[in-house]
Amino acid sequence: MQEIISDKNWNKLGIYPIVDEHDIVKVRSIVRQHAKDFRMGIVEQTRITTAISELLRNMYNYANGGDVVIESGDIEEHNALIITCIDKGPGIENVELAMSDGYTSGMGMGYGLPGAKRLVDKFEIYSEPQKGTTVRIMKWK
């Protein structure tokens, strides 16, 4: 697990605090708008909006909120929409377990992380107990 840092060549599109549930709705629609501006198709727009919704909910429910940074830039030779969710919550004790798929069967931790991962092109997570969690999702243009 590597710490998640931003590339200084990326273009910062916005940073939004998540404090209450309305912020989740707001940021969800901002992300969709960026996906539209990126000329992503309707299914791609829906995928990234749904993925971010899962992440924002975790942030709100388990970490008392946090910040969302929206950027665009080049990753692995793709022009990408990059969204990073940063919280200072309790962190995830066992990231591997949280990423394991058992969501619908009730066997997983129910954070929706594996589901969110499937909806995007690249997914990164970094978590330290007592310090917080950073999750970054990336979708190619």
């Binding site: 709705v25 299914v43 995928r47």
Partner: protein, 128 residues
């Protein structure tokens, strides 16, 4: 007083034996939970035998809203009412499956009219 447009309740209309709910806003979690209990109360109050939930405007159904909808279908079934979800956008359906969310016990129909036919058929089957 905080008059927030997002805090408005979602209206539930009763026509004959059915309740009709059209979700026209992007719901936050509390609103989804509120809608769930609101519908169950209306089933109890009106004795409705079926509920049609139109989600054609919803641009996204995530795991929480998905679980809310399937939970509501099970609860309504216990209260002897059938639930049909209508108008799910193709992109939403694709995403739900990829997310890995199964919605057992949830009946769906393409549009309101087909949903209504489905409910009527269910009622007839139950009566005969």
């Amino acid at each position: 007083m905080n008059l927030d447009i997002h805090d408005k309740k979602i209206p539930i209309i009763k026509i004959r034996d059915f309740l009709i709910v059209s979700i026209q806003v992007d719901m936050h979690d509390k609103l989804a939970v509120q809608l769930q209990s609101q519908i169950l109360h209306e089933i109890e109050r009106t004795g409705a035998k079926g509920v049609l939930i139109d989600i054609s405007v919803l641009e996204m159904v995530d795991s929480f809203i998905g679980r809310m909808l399937s939970g509501m279908a099970s609860m309504a079934a216990i209260m002897d009412a059938a639930v049909v979800i209508v108008g799910m956008q193709p992109a939403v359906a694709i995403t739900l499956v990829e997310l890995g969310l199964e919605m057992p016990g949830v009946d769906t129909a393409l549009d309101m009219e087909k949903g209504m036919e489905m409910l009527e058929k269910k009622l007839r089957e139950k009566e005969s």
